[in-house]
Amino acid sequence: MAMTTTPEAVHSRAEATYRPAANRLGLWLFLASETFLFSAFISSRFVVSGTDQPEHLNQGLALLLTLLLLWSSISAFRAEAAMAHDNRRLFHREMLTTIVLGALFLVGVGVEFNEALTDFPANTIYGSSFFMLIGLHAFHVLTGILALGVVWNLGRLGHYGSDNHWPVEGVVKYWHFVDLMWVAIYPTLYLFGGS
């Protein structure tokens, strides 16, 4: 069972990888499926604890995280637009910005978790939903950062151009999806309960 690296094999792969219609539809279907996963957890939160929320929520931090994620959205958007117009320098810079902002978001989640552990630990019913939803979202941010890193590196090595940048488009779409989920999670955990 020998492995070979023939030019033909590489060529056929490259062709199979660049099929925009199939790739786009595949990603949209995956995101639709993910939406069901998030809605399962979001509806669980309402089933077990309605819109109740504890006193000690760090509203300022949550608002900051929301804006951080929004900022990373625009930088990701700029990175994609830059690659679509063959502007490598801008692509490079904006991808890095997005990754750094994503990492900052994760740090913020860490701080938030640390406070939550004393105020509403996982063995309270709000805490269960809180850790589950924020944890799931943070996991998606983490995978998004890893994927952004891979695409950034490949872009740096010159794999993409204006007519061949599906991976950039795909990873950025995924990143926006993670933001989209936050649009639902943020009010679910922080705002619906009122002040």
């Binding site: 219609a21 786009r24 539809l25 949209w28 819109t51 509203q59 608002l63 929301t66 804006l67 929004l70 900022w71 959205s73 625009i74 990701a76 958007f77 700029r78 637009a81 830059a82 679509a84 117009h85 063959d86 502007n87 801008l90 151009g161 204006s162 779409k173 926006h176 999806f177 933001d179 989209l180 649009v183 639902a184 009010p187 922080y190 705002l191 619906f192 009122g194 002040s195």
Partner: protein, 75 residues
């Protein structure tokens, strides 16, 4: 790559659209927060914000219109 000046102008137009959207999202987020902290039982008040923000992200950032052209083209 062929026509650099044209490309740059096109890029600026796209990016400007992104900034407008991001600005709108930021404003919506802040207003959403204010509504949530001032109104009693704000759930119903917040739903329009979620729909508007989600719609903007889907339409501008995620290019949801590309779903219309996905069929293999022989239907």
């Amino acid at each position: 790559m062929s026509d650099n000046s044209h490309d740059t102008a096109g890029l600026m137009t796209v990016i400007q659209r992104g900034w407008f959207t991001a600005g709108a999202l930021a404003v919506l987020t802040l207003v959403e927060y204010v509504v949530a902290t001032t109104v009693d039982a704000p759930t119903l008040w917040l739903l329009p914000f979620i729909v508007a923000k989600g719609g903007l992200i889907l339409e501008v950032f995620m290019h949801s219109s590309d779903l219309k052209t996905l069929d293999g083209g022989n239907a």
